[in-house]
């Protein structure tokens, strides 16, 4: 049985109907990881023992006639900035290289409560700061679709893992595109729900007002299933909305788009985009028409002009604040010094990598008196204008289709040559975070060089269900992506 090709739904159905056991599935997927990850390097920590223990519990429940939940026996992986009880959580940083949390993030707990089996932790850009998964202390992850290219980031390990068939669902965090852009690069489906849809409790913060948990899958059906499990109120996170969510799986059963108004973004610099990604937008628009939707061209002038600048002010200001707790005193890397100040300086200098230090410095600067008024305050005003512009758009349209990344997967090492180009890559994705909107990166096929092409779907705030319905219908036309063709270490 090729367990790695199965969807989460198929695995769970088989476990519940006792066609196969959770332990069997786990063995198969762990075997695949061991076979291929020497090259891809998507995984930083495996927790085999705990995983087998959990899988056996699921099998026991099934044999006792109990229902383990909608993800019974489905192996999953989480980005290494999700706190996992008793399992090292590094954030890809030297700072937290040995840190073992004493609790599970709410998202992890919800997955486990639904019967899913945690296999391990995936690689990421250090503290989720990057778009290439190259700044991790564990070294870079490679793109399973083309190992000369990056998998995107910062949740590059999770996206690569799903593309490589390690598991049907992996979790990431998305602050400016960190779930969706790597999903696009690796040719899988990624969703950043509305801010407040999924609890952030236990996610090591990058920027409080932008961070959101998202799932990465190979099809929208599994995405909806994951959302049903993840999107719940949480008493440990007051920014997580308390409303009772209707079924996302039901939303994913939509057949057509009749009565749906879809805006197609125009008015941006198409010449600086990789051509296949422009064609992807056109294809998606055609699918919409075929499915009965009303399609119109729309523009977001303020958003497209200022999003990146605004995003970096807001995100880095917050990052400098949230990362201030790493002083080497209670957890994380500690370096000795003559006095407290020297201990702090040495610990932080040795613990944080170059990109993280750069972002903390910029963030500290924009919150400093004088700069705060001239940079940070205007950025928060622009942020409100972006939210307003989107709100106006969604009074006319039910969803927006636009690019997720302006470029196909980057070649390795580009971040060193041209960091600003990488920052500009957030132009489309970060807008959803700034406005708190749900957004899905949807694969719409592959280029001749077998590089994935994709579009971004954005919906109104808490319009996550409608967005899943749209993605589900479009996926029927585009087809859900297959697993990447891999070869094991040494043989290619």
């Amino acid at each position: 049985m090729d367990f790695h090709k199965l969807s989460a739904k198929e695995i769970a159905d088989g476990v519940i109907s006792r066609k196969w056991s959770a332990a069997e599935v786990l063995t198969a997927l762990l075997g695949r990881i061991k076979k291929y990850d020497g090259k891809i390097k998507a995984i930083v920590t495996l927790c085999e023992e705990k995983a087998y223990c959990d899988a056996r519990k699921i099998d026991e429940m099934v044999s006792n006639g109990l229902d383990p939940g909608p993800l019974a026996g489905v192996p999953f992986l989480v980005k290494d900035n999700f706190c996992t009880d008793g399992i090292r959580t590094t954030c890809g940083s030297r700072m937290l290289y040995d840190w073992i949390p004493c609790y599970d993030a709410t998202a992890v707990k919800n997955m486990k409560n639904a019967g899913a089996v945690l296999m391990g932790k995936t690689n990421m850009d250090e503290f989720a700061m990057g778009s290439t998964t190259e700044s991790s202390v564990f070294g870079p992850t490679l793109n399973p679709r083309d190992i000369t290219r990056v998998p995107g980031g910062s949740s590059g390990g999770s996206a690569a893992a799903v593309a490589a068939g390690y598991c049907p669902i992996a979790l990431g965090s998305d602050t400016g595109g960190s779930v969706r852009q790597p999903s696009a690069f690796c040719g899988v489906q990624g969703m950043k729900p509305s801010y407040g849809q999924i609890s952030r409790y236990g996610i090591v913060a990058y920027a409080s007002s932008l961070d959101q948990v998202g799932a990465i899958t190979r099809n929208i059906g599994d995405m909806a299933l994951a959302m049903d499990v993840l999107a719940k109120p949480d008493e440990n996170d007051t920014t997580c909305d308390a409303y009772e969510r209707p079924s996302f799986s039901s939303a994913s059963a939509a057949e057509n788009l009749r009565g749906c108004r879809v805006g197609i973004l125009s008015g941006f610099d198409k010449d600086s985009m990789d051509k296949p990604l422009i064609e992807a937008i056109d294809r998606a628009a055609d699918f919409c028409r075929s499915a009965g939707a009303e399609v119109m061209e729309v523009e977001l002038p303020v958003t497209m002009k200022y999003a990146v600048a605004c995003y970096y002010m807001v995100a880095l200001g917050d990052a400098s604040s949230k990362l201030a707790c790493y002083d080497g005193m209670r957890y994380g890397l500690h370096a000795d010094g003559k006095n407290l100040a020297e201990m702090y300086k040495r610990s932080r200098n040795q613990g944080f990598g170059k990109e993280v230090r750069r972002r903390i410095l910029v963030g500290t600067c924009v919150l400093t008196r004088g700069y705060y008024e001239n940079y940070y305050v205007p950025a928060t005003k622009v942020r409100q204008m972006i939210a307003d512009e989107y709100a106006e758009l969604f009074s006319r349209a039910d969803a927006l289709i636009c690019p997720i990344s302006p470029a196909l997967p980057y070649k390795k090492g580009l971040v060193e040559e041209d960091p600003v180009r990488i920052y500009l890559g957030d132009a489309f994705s970060s807008t959803a975070n700034l406005a708190g909107l749900p957004s899905i990166s949807l694969n719409v096929g592959f280029t001749e060089e077998k590089l994935p092409t994709n579009v971004q779907l954005i919906g109104p705030r808490f319009g996550d269900h409608g967005l899943i319905a749209l993605a589900s219908v479009l996926e029927k036309y585009a087809g859900s992506p297959d697993i990447a063709e891999l070869c094991c270490e040494g043989s290619c």
């Binding site: 236990g202 996610i203 917050d318 400098s320």
Partner: protein
């Protein structure tokens, strides 16, 4: 023209909640083993988020209403950043641009004069941990290392910031005392400076002869009312001296050294830190809707100053008595219950100020721990009024009731005061017995040698002793006189 003293106070009140401001940890930290009242949230373990304690918001609104502040709906928290070992997140969650309450005032009486002190605002914030610098020889300085205890970290504080309306040390003390009184009346805080549940930062300057404001100095580390008074006196004198000598003051923070009785410069304005105040996005805005605020307002007890004025009007108490009896809510409650039990209010006030106060003081206890109920004291006073007991007997009975935690009836038996005062024939018998025992003294009086009446008083004392104080003094005197003839 003399320079005017200008003082502004920032008072931190530790709010009496069961759990900390942003997590479920116990607030019962005094005497707890270091770092036991802690959890991932208050230790800033990565991934954790703060959850606002609604009770703390309610208590802050209570005290703000008591201070006539305007309560703002939809206020926010900010992060105040600085690196120090007592602050696990490296920022303190506090309120900055949008405090929960603004404006308001407090009417105080200092040196017999009434005065209104306006308030700038009141906000909520979390406390920091505590550093301990142990030395091998027990000295205060020169520790080789520091230890940190996070039990206090995250305790809920309400900071009350006054306008610079205070013009003397006496006014400052009156202001703090009255805030403390209010906090206790409303059961919002213990308000104890000794244990740190009330702390004050003092800002003092001397206005120039032309009326313009002088250079402001902040005094920290003033941990008792006495310290505040002394620090203010010292600082006012120091500033006057510097200015008299033609010098210039610098805007700075000075630490009060209680042992040496001086303030010392800690940091000057040049070193003022930029706290990079930043909106706390991990917390939703505080919602204090008008109907919620009105519900709290309706639940407030009578304010101490209103009660003080009412006692004067309703019971005819003197200002002095009224101030003393309303100082603590429990004392005032006790008084009113006692008076409601039929005893004359003035007598109740007298008994409470004298006898009850004495017993409490001698036993080092609070009115809450007094074993005699207000109703029983009322009955006791009524008995004295009806002349069923002498004053002296009643005092003994009261002391016994408290000491042995017994009822009025039991105490009356115990003190042999059941039968009421000794009088008439029985009293005459006792006088005769004393005369027989002290024949010499009787002879001295009869021979007219007791010019100053000392011997008569001596005999009277003996009779009182024999009757265990239950005899009426004037009846005793008249019997002695008649038998002497």
């Amino acid at each position: 023209m003399e320079r005017q003293v200008v003082i502004g106070l920032e008072i931190h009140l530790q709010l009496k909640t069961k759990s900390k401001l942003f997590c479920g940890c116990s607030t019962d930290y005094i005497g707890a083993v270091p770092n036991t009242n802690v959890c991932p949230v208050c230790l800033a373990v990565p991934g954790t988020l703060p959850i606002l304690n609604d009770k703390a918001v309610e208590l802050a609104i209570k005290i703000a209403l008591g201070l006539h502040c305007d309560i703002h709906d939809n206020t926010r928290f900010h992060r105040k950043h600085y690196f120090y070992a007592d602050l696990p997140k490296a920022y303190q969650i506090t309120q900055y641009e949008h405090p929960i309450a603004v404006g308001g005032y407090l009417d105080i009486i200092a040196d017999g004069r009434p005065k209104r002190v306006r308030l700038h605002h009141l906000h909520l914030e979390e406390d920091a941990g505590k550093l301990v610098h142990p030395t091998s020889d027990g000295r205060m300085t020169g520790a080789a290392y520091s230890l940190v205890d996070y039990n206090r970290g995250g305790m809920p504080l309400s900071e009350i910031v006054s306008e610079p309306d205070i013009n003397s040390a006496a006014e400052a003390i009156a202001y703090i005392t009255q805030i403390r009184q209010l906090a206790r009346y409303l059961d919002v805080s213990d308000g104890e400076m000794e244990s740190g549940s009330l702390r004050a930062d003092v800002n003092v300057s001397l206005s120039n002869p032309d009326g313009s404001l002088g250079t402001r100095v902040e005094i920290k580390n003033v941990n008792s009312l006495k310290a505040i008074e002394n620090a203010l006196k010292y600082e006012i004198a120091r500033q006057n001296r510097v200015l008299d000598e033609g010098g210039r003051l610098v805007q700075e923070t000075r630490l009060w050294d209680d042992m040496a009785g001086v303030t010392r410069s800690m940091r000057s304005k040049e070193g003022v830190r930029d706290y990079r105040y930043y909106l706390e996005m991990d917390l939703a805005p505080i919602s204090a809707k008008p109907d919620y605020v009105e519900k709290i307002r309706a639940s407030l007890p009578e304010m101490p100053w209103n009660r003080r004025d009412r006692f004067i009007q309703q019971y005819g108490l003197s200002i002095e008595d009224s101030v003393q009896l309303t100082e603590q809510r429990e004392t005032a409650d006790y008084f009113e219950k006692c008076a409601a039990h039929g005893a004359p209010a003035l007598k109740c006030a007298n008994w409470m100020r004298m006898e009850v106060q004495r017993i409490l003081h001698e036993n080092g206890i609070d009115i809450k721990d007094f074993n005699v109920s207000a109703e029983q004291l009322g009955s006791l006073i009524t008995k004295v009024e009806k002349k069923e007991l002498s004053n002296t007997q009643a005092k003994d009975v009261l002391a016994a009731m408290n000491a042995e935690n017994i009822s009025l009836d039991e105490a009356l038996k115990k003190c042999g005061a059941c039968g009421g005062p000794v009088s008439g024939h029985a009293l005459e018998e006792i006088v005769r017995k004393v005369f027989a025992d002290e024949a010499e003294a009787v002879e001295t009086i009869r021979s007219g040698k007791d010019k100053k009446g000392a011997k008569v008083k001596f005999l009277q004392g003996l009779v009182m002793k024999e009757t265990r104080g239950s005899a009426d003094a004037s009846e005793t005197a008249s019997i002695i006189q008649s038998l002497l003839k």
